[in-house]
């Protein structure tokens, strides 16, 4: 079987958050629950790079390991999904997940945290494919319709790739090779010396009195 993976190209990700709203759009997740998010490192400084992250569908999923009710399962496509009918909303997966994927409804307070919600790779859940019930609990099941996750399909710069790990790796390999020459020619980092702070730029007033 194919092994589904996400891949995010930080050289292309521009933090437009298209993936985030695409996810909201297709899965109709409520305010406060963000199955996908874009994280920017060194924001506003040379070396600024963004990555779109969601559930990575790990092969050794820590969430599944710590779940006290064992509600996670791995599909034939290598996707880590969970059964909301089993989940008790304890939050352990959130403590364990390296990527911050598990989300909980914002109103969850004091004993009621609400069921965990996370990226399903647009593959729904354990219910009947594309049933109303499945949509309500898990969002869209695009995989069953032969489509890939909408976040990746709609990525503005095609930075976020999703699909069979081999194919995705191949696309990325081509990109790197394309890019390789320019990377090598210009020095590895894209942050050239031109990014250092200019000298006379201060906008401070020059009036003497």
């Amino acid at each position: 079987m194919a092994r589904m993976k996400f891949y995010c190209d930080a050289e292309r990700c521009i933090e437009c958050n298209g993936c985030v709203t695409a996810c909201k759009n297709v899965n109709e997740v409520p305010w406060g629950v963000n199955r996908r998010r874009v994280v920017t490192i060194r924001d506003g400084e040379p070396g600024e790079r963004s990555l779109s992250v969601a559930c990575m569908h790990c092969s050794d999923a820590p969430c599944a390991a710590v779940c006290p009710v064992d509600c996670f399962y791995t599909t034939d496509d290598g996707l880590v999904l969970h059964d909301k009918d089993i989940c008790i909303g304890c939050g352990y997966c959130f403590y364990a997940c390296p990527f911050g994927a598990p989300q909980f409804p914002a109103d969850g307070a004091f004993a009621t945290r609400g069921k965990m919600d996370k990226c399903t790779f647009c593959a729904g859940g354990p219910l009947e494919d594309n049933s109303a019930e499945e949509f309500r609990k898990y969002g869209a099941n695009r995989l069953a319709e032969g489509k890939l996750p909408l976040c990746a399909e709609m990525c503005a710069t095609k930075a976020l790739l999703a699909g069979d790990a081999d194919i995705v790796a191949d696309i990325y390999r081509k990109r790197i090779i394309n890019r390789g020459a320019s990377v090598l020619n210009r020095g590895v980092s894209y942050q050239n010396a031109t990014l250092r702070s200019p000298s006379g730029l201060s906008g401070r007033a020059t009036s003497k009195e």
């Binding site: 995010c8 990555l51 390991a65 009918d85 403590y95 364990a96 911050g100 004993a111 009621t112 790796a169």
Partner: protein, 385 residues
């Protein structure tokens, strides 16, 4: 009358328990936590990105400096490898707990702690405690009142004291049972009753556990206020400790209203209970923006103290019930047998005798008229509604 030999044995046996709890607590605190955190390490994950990068570099003979780990090409790899150290702090437009953090640095440690230490060792500790108690019972048998049950009693606990004792006891029991379901259920119950039924049980346990948690705080506060005075360590307690509660040497170790072991048990309850309450509150209010790291640590503290406390309480229950003759009586009726008091709390018993507070069982009677409780009339009125 039984021999003096046996009389001296009984407090030693009790004290032996108390000593064991303290050692257990110390051991778990000093060994388990740091051990757990130190052992957690990164996992080796295959890395196709690196190969790709190598291929690119090989296109040119000139050596290229290894890029800083967070240029675009490598950032994703570091993320996939969960290499938190290589990833600078981030920002994000998505509001949420820790959402700006690409990698949860403590997540893996927490997972390892929970799955590889807390669950197995916690199980061993609890199981071991039950086994230990059982063995102890079969080997040593019940500790009798050597002087036999007398006709005299001493007033030991008021209605209020008994109320709050059983209040905290029932809450602790409930919390312990639901907690045990949540901690060990996946390993022991799912194979038996299946996912669906266990999920139901776990959900109920979780809701109940969360709801009764704050009540434990209330109960703990009541207990603390009421009993703290009698539990302040005093002079004789050191002797008690040095003699191992009577285990070392064969002499009886005298004690006051509470002995050193009981006092330690009280302070353990206060501190471990306090830890349980604080960490528990952190866990059931996830909506105050506390991060995963704090919650993970709270969970670890909660788990360890809960295991230790439960183990101790198993011992406590044992001694309080089948383990020792006459021990339950005080907490049940409010009065304890004079002989029992002499054998276990002789300074207190002596003081009571001096103050002429010894009552006969007949005097106590059915309704406890001699209890220094509120006037009987008031009680009658209250129950007459």
């Amino acid at each position: 009358m039984r021999s003096m030999e046996e009389t001296r044995w009984s407090p030693a046996a009790t004290n032996c328990f108390h000593l064991f709890w303290i050692l257990l607590l110390a051991a778990s605190t000093f060994l388990v936590i740091p051990g757990g955190l130190a052992r957690a390490e990164g996992v080796e994950i295959p890395n196709p990105g690196a190969d790709l990068w190598r291929e690119v570099r090989q296109r040119d003979a000139t050596p290229v400096p290894v890029p800083a780990p967070t240029t675009g090409i490598d950032l994703w790899r570091e993320v996939r490898q969960r290499n938190a150290a290589a990833i600078p702090a981030g920002t994000t437009q998505v509001s949420g707990t820790d959402s700006a953090e690409l990698i949860n640095a403590l997540g893996d440690q927490w997972r390892r702690f929970r799955m590889e230490q807390l669950v197995p060792y916690g199980g061993y500790v609890l199981g071991g405690m039950v086994l230990f108690v059982a063995l102890f019972y079969f080997i040593r048998g019940r500790v009798p009142i050597h002087a036999g049950v007398s006709n005299k009693v001493l007033f030991r606990y008021s209605v209020y004291e008994r109320m709050i004792h059983w209040f905290i006891a029932s809450i602790f029991l409930f919390q312990a049972i639901t907690g045990i379901f949540l901690l060990f259920g996946r390993d022991f119950l799912i194979p038996v009753i299946g996912h669906g039924a266990f999920s139901l049980l776990a959900s109920a346990s979780k809701e109940g556990h969360n709801l009764f948690g704050p009540l434990f705080l209330l109960a703990l506060a009541l207990i603390f206020v009421r009993f703290v005075r009698r539990n302040i360590y005093e002079k004789g307690d050191l002797t008690w400790l040095l003699r191992g509660g009577g285990v070392i040497g064969k002499k009886h170790v005298p004690s006051n209203f509470f002995n050193m072991g009981e006092k330690s048990m009280f302070w353990l309850l206060v501190f471990a209970g306090g830890t349980l309450v604080v960490s528990g509150l952190i866990l059931i209010f996830p909506n105050f923006g506390q991060g995963r790291a704090l919650m993970g640590l709270s969970h670890a503290a909660h788990g360890i103290t809960a295991i230790v406390m439960t183990a101790v309480i198993i011992g406590h229950i044992y001694i309080g019930s089948i383990g020792m003759e006459g021990a339950l009586e005080g907490m049940k009726t409010g009065y304890c047998d004079l002989n029992w008091a002499r054998e276990h709390h002789d300074w207190w018993a002596q003081r009571c005798e001096n103050e002429d507070k010894i009552l006969s069982r007949d005097q106590v009677g059915r309704a406890g008229v001699h209890s220094p409780e509120p006037a009987a009339g008031q009680v009658v009125e209250e129950s007459g509604k």
